[in-house]
Amino acid sequence: MSSTLTVTNANTTNLTTTNVTATNLTDGGGTTSTFANVRAGSLKSYIFGDSAANILKSLNVSGGVDNGTGNYTYSFTSAMDSVNYSCGCAANSGNDRSAMTNSKTASSYIVEVAQQNGNAVDSSHSSNVAGDLA
């Protein structure tokens, strides 16, 4: 399959449609990616949560739960296809803190935040999820 859709009009250059199937996607600057890379490489979920699992920013997240000190569960609105997804995370406050993910399922995962001495600690944090939706 190879297709090119070019939208050019000096006055009105907007096109609205429901579905597009194509091989490549080229931006206005001329840089091209395959649709497969764009589709698979786009994050399927992310969260920015505070120290009590209140969600400040999210994509495809139905809710957060504060399980205890430095331990937070986030659930997907649309589930992943399996537990085999990539999930990165980071602590976003204080100092001497690292974050990790745990207990991944197709519908949720846990973010844990700890100090270097191993002690769990409450902290704002962020995480993102890449992979395939169910």
Partner: protein
């Protein structure tokens, strides 16, 4: 300037809602030198500041919509250092690398997700 508004994208095999592409694409990424003076690879980064030992500030070219964006940070070292991000503003954030007793320089990686202004 043209806009193509689409609900779903299909690569020939699999369909995904365009929301995941627009919202799920990284808005900033960077790889920076250990001394905090040079940017090795970046997207939507205007400059790098060596704020202090083990502390680097990334300035964003096109601002984020607010400070509540998602930042992932990593470091290129075998040491069991802790790395994190603070001071997330619409146009900048600071990366930290700490070995348990002091801040230390390291090659740093970041990616930012969320909404542009």
């Amino acid at each position: 300037m043209s806009t193509l508004q689409v609900s779903n994208l299909n690569d020939g095999t699999t369909t995904v809602a365009t929301t995941f592409v627009t919202s799920g694409s990284a808005k900033v990424f960077s790889k920076t030198s250990a001394d905090g003076t040079s940017i090795t690879k970046s997207f939507n980064v205007s400059s790098l500041v060596d704020t202090n030992t083990g502390q680097q500030t990334i300035n964003i070219n096109s601002n984020m919509s607010d400070g509540d964006y998602i930042v992932q940070v990593g470091k290129h070292t075998s040491a069991a250092n802790a790395e994190w991000v603070q001071s997330t503003a619409v146009g900048s954030f600071i990366m930290y690398n700490y070995n348990g007793s002091s801040y230390v320089d390291s090659i740093m990686f970041t990616s930012v997700d969320g909404d542009l202004a």
